[in-house]
């Protein structure tokens, strides 16, 4: 009996070993392929070609690995990559990998271990972190005149161009707008969306006064995370209404949060019990959206790229929603509204196949036909003139032109705390947390804002003195034209 058991055990072990060896596919293990990445499965014959930068001597093909964190456009990009791999005459094969979680940490690990991919989808934290350490390739060395002409409007000094070097080319963008429920406005007897901050407060108050009995309130903001709430709203109001970016005045080279007082005072009213949707202090953006979709919130401010898809697919909405420019104090617009560029890719400067990376990048991600498809599919709002010209935008953009990046929107240069994020050490709370304390608490607004200016200017001064922060002062800076 014991003898039989031994044989069975040996047999089982042999079966297991053979089954492991006999697998017909193998998962690629390069680049720390765990960490939530969607790793492409390669056939057995590709097993030996596991290095992302290694030239494949057998087939004379050069493999270019691309990392992205975007899932929403994966179908279109995968299709484009497949077409490119099948048709390119440069013997380049592109491998497109999506990292759904811990993208920035995965990039850190890859650089640390010397196994960074050839092309990395741009995120502001990753770009800014490695900007000064020379990890990103200068694209201007590859750009021909045609390319420069096509993308000239999105190359902005201080945003993607530093000391004449261009690091990424944004192709789409997002910004903040006021989203409002047309049915609620009609019920409350309001004919048009507000154009001034004062009107906005009054409209929100009116909605709450008239309709709170039905559980409908005038205004909401996702204040569980002050950064989430204010970055999508108040920072854009400061561009338009104050000509400042994150409190920074490019013409004086100083932080001046004192000018935020009228906006913060209006927000304090908006978030008061007389107006705000109950529980805003603990509201995340998605629960807020569910309540807006359910017809419980009159208006809120959020990003243009996300909301149309949310109310079409994620939280289908029966009421009609509209979109308008973000109201500013007295309707006095003194600056262009900033927008966040997206759809950009960074090239790893240490890649052994930098030329091939550029070729693949240009053919796939900077191709005008691909960018047109991207825009027409509603995957992103194009900011490239040639693409906009030849495209038929999705219906939602035709119905709501305020969703598009327009002539009153512009790219702002980076402020010192964005450009030198790891060396810009502000003591005490950051600006968004301070805004939250001023809006929700009893702290004196003028004193609180002055203290904030003092702390940010102290951090700036200390960094400049130490040589870790470069002074940014733009003579003749025009907030209506911040990218020039």
């Amino acid at each position: 009996m014991v003898f039989t058991k031994k044989y069975i055990a040996i047999l089982l072990v042999m079966v297991m070993v053979l089954s492991l060896n006999g697998c017909s596919t193998k998962k690629e293990q390069t680049n720390g392929g765990s960490n939530g990445a969607n790793v492409t499965e390669l056939p057995e014959e590709d097993e030996k070609n596991t290095s992302n930068t290694e030239t494949e001597t057998n087939t004379e093909k050069t493999k270019i690995v691309v990392w992205s964190k975007n899932r929403h456009d994966a179908d279109l990009i995968n299709k484009k990559v497949e077409e490119y791999n099948a048709s390119n005459t440069d013997n380049i094969v592109v491998e497109y990998q999506i990292y759904t979680e811990n993208y920035e940490q995965a990039i850190d690990m890859a650089f640390q271990s010397g196994e960074a991919p050839d092309i990395i989808a741009h995120t502001p934290p990753a770009f800014l972190k490695y900007l000064n350490s020379g990890k990103w390739a200068d694209l201007s060395q590859f750009m021909d005149d045609d390319f420069k002409k096509t993308f000239s409007s999105v190359i902005v000094p201080g945003m993607n161009e530093f000391d004449g070097k261009v690091y990424f080319i944004p192709t789409s963008g997002t910004t903040g707008r006021l989203f409002y429920n047309k049915n609620i406005f009609e019920k409350a007897g309001i004919t048009n969306p507000p154009t001034t901050l004062e009107e906005m407060v009054e409209d929100a108050r009116l909605i709450t006064e008239k309709l709170s009995g039905e559980g409908i309130y005038g205004f909401a903001a996702p204040l569980k995370s002050p950064t989430s709430a204010f970055a999508r709203a108040l920072s854009f109001q400061a561009h338009r209404g104050l000509g400042l970016s994150l409190g920074y005045d490019f013409s004086t080279g100083q932080y001046d949060f004192a000018k935020y007082a009228p906006i913060i005072k209006a927000w304090k009213e908006l978030m008061s019990a007389d107006i705000a949707f109950p529980g805003c202090e603990s509201l995340d953006i998605d629960p807020l959206r569910t309540q807006f979709a359910a017809g419980k919130i009159g208006m809120y401010i959020s990003y243009t790229h996300a909301e149309p898809g949310v109310y079409a697919n994620q939280f289908p909405m029966t009421d009609a929603w509209g979109v308008a420019q973000i109201p500013v104090s007295d309707g006095n617009v003194v600056g262009a509204q900033g927008y966040t560029p997206s759809g950009s890719y960074l090239l790893n400067a240490d890649s052994k196949n930098l030329d091939a990376s550029w070729k693949a990048y240009k053919a796939i991600f900077a191709d005008i036909d691909f960018l047109t498809d991207y825009y027409e599919s509603g995957l992103g709002i194009s900011i490239v003139a040639d693409v906009i010209e030849q495209s038929q935008p999705a219906q939602v953009y035709i119905d709501n032109p305020a969703l598009l990046i327009g002539s009153t929107d512009s790219i702002w240069p980076l402020t010192p705390q964005e450009k030198n994020s790891s060396n810009f050490i502000v003591e005490g709370t950051d600006m968004y947390t301070t805004f939250s304390a001023l809006v929700l608490g009893d702290v004196d607004i003028d004193k609180g804002l002055q203290d904030l200016s003092d702390r940010y200017n102290a951090a700036l001064k200390a960094g400049i003195k130490e040589g870790t922060i470069t002074e940014i002062k733009i003579n003749g800076f025009d907030p209506k034209n911040p990218s020039k």
Partner: protein, 314 residues
Amino acid sequence: MHKKITPPVSSEKLKRSIKENVKSYSLLLPNLILFIAFSIYPCIWTLKYVFYRYGGIGTGEPKFVGMDNIMRVFRDEVYWKTVKNTFVYAGAKILFVIPLAFLLALFLNKKRRGNGLLQSVIFVPTIMSSAVMGLVFYLLFNVYNGQINNYLMDWNIIKQPINWLGTDNAMKTVIITAVWGGIGNYMVYFIAGLQRISEEALESAKIDGANGMQTLWYITIPMLGPILKIILMLSITAAFNDMSNVMVLTEGGPNYSTMVMSLYGYQFFFPISAGSIVTSQYGYGAAVSTVSAAIAGAVTIIYLFVSKKLDEVY
């Protein structure tokens, strides 16, 4: 038979001791290696960065700044607010969780049908992820469609929904969640302690005419003394380090009203707000964590000292 490990006196004796106890040391070795790798090394790493300014991988070389980070901790008003919050949170949690766990243990320790099942049900929150727990409580307590408000309004206990996660109530909600999450664990400790009390002692008290309360007061509680000391010590250290349910439930808000010191330190290593412009500050995070550990350690030492003195008195 257990072999006694004799304390070494000289190098000769040490060698002999190692030779004699090689089996014991080899059994200790795997744990010792893991302990050094995952407890001692991270502590040393953290202590080192207290004296450096460092933003993490890719942000350049760490810069030695001496005592700057520690001095900043003492100037940081928000940090001291989190220390106060931690004491309120830990005090309230221990105040509720220990008596409730003890009462549950007393009730469920008796041989009664269904007690085993009840013990398991009450223990479930202990093995649940505290992040999941935080999310479930967020859904239960949210002001606009949370079930807690719905029930209270259905039963006419309240007329207007309570803002459970607002500035005034958020800490209470966090404490309720923590008590619910911790009660099962301490109940099991108490049951283990109760089962060690000899039946003879309880029967003697009964024969001597002691009623239930007298037996509880004069026999059960004093005999639970040693395990109660351990439970209290564990609950103090756990309460001072809790953070995951706070992170999910409130992210330390609104306006830092539920921010505890461990979460405050954590966010300098891993900024918690999505899209935050606050970047990692490993050096300052290490300083905050070190001062917080010293505070939690001091509280534990004071507790041990007081309990030792009480032992001497009684």
